[in-house]
């Protein structure tokens, strides 16, 4: 009896809830697979999709966002073996699932912890509340391929931002597979957009893009590139999260920093009177 011929997967980009190939028609061979090689135009399209998703996602209730992030955890748990088959250690998958669960719970708590009433010296109601900054460009860490990716996507989107993520160029398969998890987790299209390919090609486009509100340089290891991207981000005063040291422990307590760095605090005043 002949062995069954396997059906191989095509690893494509994830933009606006769909899985298109690069508009450039290019791919590159990595992890024994051909993966889309995203172009500057793909980056631009991803920003358009991310921007289009901002209104709905930031306008969703915190409870709803929390539910969807928890749904991501459920779906990821169910696909555990698929990630293991791609070479992601089982413990890392477990940690990634737990990370989604942890962030899911923050959706309706962070505004309470990070905002609040301010006791101004006058007859005013005064409330500070965090809001998402908008579209966030993210350069994902090279490794750990899955936990690192979750560790930058989840804190950005839990508060209502949408993201364009440049995946690890050397280990993109876990990233594309995570995109497949996201695509089946009730997450609205465009909230997470994933680009595979060269950081040097996509990141400068994203850093300079005037319709991007923040950039997370977590995975940028080249100091010169990091400086160039940060300087590019100054063009419209993007919020910048600087590169994470290579020895960073992505399994450790993430703290609030990655969430709060991508928030705007809005303070509303109103007189109290009759």
């Amino acid at each position: 009896m002949s062995e069954r011929v396997a059906v191989r997967k095509t690893y494509k980009l994830f933009i606006g809830g769909k899985f298109p190939r690069s508009e450039s028609g290019r791919s590159y061979l990595v992890q024994s697979a051909n993966v889309s090689l995203a172009s500057r135009k793909d980056a631009r399209d991803a920003v358009v999709a991310a921007r289009a998703a901002v209104k709905g996602w930031s306008g969703a209730t915190a409870y709803n966002r929390g539910q969807i992030l928890y749904r991501v955890a459920e779906m990821l748990e169910g696909r555990r073996e698929q990630f293991v088959a791609l070479g992601v250690p089982g413990g890392e998958v477990d940690a990634a699932v737990d990370r989604w669960v942890w962030y899911a719970g923050w959706a309706d708590k962070l505004p309470q912890v990070y905002g609040g009433a301010n006791p101004v010296a006058g007859p005013y109601f005064n409330l500070s509340a965090p809001e998402p900054t908008g579209v966030v460009a993210v350069v994902a860490p090279e490794s750990p391929a899955l936990l690192g990716l979750v560790g930058v996507i989840a804190p950005a989107i839990v508060t209502g931002n949408t993201v364009v993520v440049a995946a690890s160029p050397s280990a993109p398969l876990a990233a594309v597979t995570l995109a497949e998890v996201l695509a089946t987790s009730d997450l609205p299209g465009g909230v997470v957009n994933l680009l595979t390919g060269r950081i040097t090609e996509t990141a400068p486009t994203l850093a300079a893009h005037l319709d991007v509100n923040a950039i997370d340089l977590a995975g940028v290891t080249d100091r010169e590139l990091a400086t160039e991207l940060e300087a590019g981000a100054a063009e419209n005063l993007k919020r910048v999260l600087r590169p994470v040291p290579a020895d960073h422990d992505w399994a450790g307590d993430p703290g609030l920093g990655r969430m709060t760095a991508l928030l705007e605090t809005k303070t509303v005043w109103h007189p109290k009177g009759v």
């Binding site: 006058g122 007859p123 005013y124 007189p271 109290k272 009177g273 009759v274």
Partner: protein, 319 residues
């Protein structure tokens, strides 16, 4: 805001015919934000009025005083003395102007009229079962007619606050109309008793109601409830007379009464008039202070300005 459009001009006279129309109109007036109104009043209170401006303000304030006594213990002798003081507040200084009016209970009107006869000082009488207004309408109207007949040329009436707060605007309106009619040629000042109206929105509505019904003046208070005139209340009333004139072409006066004790306070009111409705109202014909002890402080400050020496209460008569 629609209340101030010129297109509304012709309609306003019809409002009193219908409770619904009155309610719709009064509740359609723009709201007053308490904090904002009080801040504006406080800010105007920081104006620094010195030297020549202060002298001008003091003389104007004296001319605007409705020199008032409204006590059960008032006697003919006391009110005559008050009227004499109204004519010549500072006997030592002939340049000192006379006050705007003397304000007394109806029973005292004949005694004051004797003293004021032939002078430019007006004679105001509270009427309509002052201060509570708790009497049948015919009694209130009789009260008014009696005061006018005895020589009062200005009548200070109180509105029916109970009816106003209960939303029976037509009832309040009709009473004012009837009182105005009973006044004949006498000017009618409508006392809103703002200390009982609870909100500036109500002050604005009551102001409009008083004006729509024909009041010649709107006045803050009787002086007989704990909260009398305040700067923010007067600000809201000034805005109302300003907007009413813009809407109807008719100018209505304003009289804060009660609690205005000294020159500094009086000047704050004048600044407020100046910067809210402007020079058209800076006259005793259009702005009055209902006060008693204020006059002596104005006189003391006036003396200080002319002589450079601080005066004392012993140098001015108490009544």
């Amino acid at each position: 805001m629609t209340a101030t459009t010129t297109s509304a001009r012709s309609d306003l006279s019809e409002l009193g015919r219908s409770e619904t129309a009155l309610r719709t109109f009064l509740h359609g007036l723009p709201g007053v934000d308490q904090v904002g109104a009080e801040q504006r009043a406080a800010q105007l209170g920081t104006r620094s009025i010195k030297t020549t401006a202060k002298a001008q303000a003091i003389d104007l304030a004296i001319r605007m005083v409705d020199l008032t006594t409204l006590e059960g213990a008032d006697t003919p002798g006391k009110v005559r003395a008050l009227a004499a003081k109204a004519l010549r507040p500072d006997p030592a200084d002939p340049t000192c102007p006379h006050v705007g009016a003397v304000c007394v209970y109806p029973a005292m009107v004949p005694h004051v009229a004797e003293v004021l006869r032939g002078s430019a000082v007006h004679l105001a009488s509270v009427a309509t079962a002052f201060p509570s207004g708790q009497a049948p309408l015919d009694v209130k109207l009789a009260d008014t007619r009696a005061a006018v007949a005895a020589g009062a040329d200005e009548i200070d009436m109180v509105i029916n606050r109970g009816a106003f707060l209960a939303g029976r605007y037509a009832e309040v309106y009709d009473e004012i109309v009837a009182t105005k009619e009973a006044c004949g040629d006498a000017h009618l000042k409508v006392i809103l008793e703002t200390g009982e109206l609870a909100t500036y929105d109500n002050v604005r509505r009551a102001s409009w109601l008083g004006m729509l019904a024909g009041g010649d003046f709107i006045k803050t208070s009787t002086g007989k409830v704990p909260v009398a005139a305040t700067l923010p209340v007067t600000l809201v009333m000034l805005e109302a007379v300003r907007d009413f004139r813009a809407a109807t072409g008719r100018q209505v006066g304003v009289k804060p009464a009660g609690g205005i004790k000294n020159t500094k306070d009086a000047i704050k009111y004048l600044v407020m008039v100046n910067e809210t409705v402007g020079g058209d109202w800076l006259s005793p014909d259009w702005f009055r202070f209902g006060a008693s002890s204020l006059l002596n402080d104005l006189l003391m400050q006036r003396t200080k300005l002319t002589t450079g020496i601080y005066s004392g209460p012993d140098y001015f008569t108490l009544d």
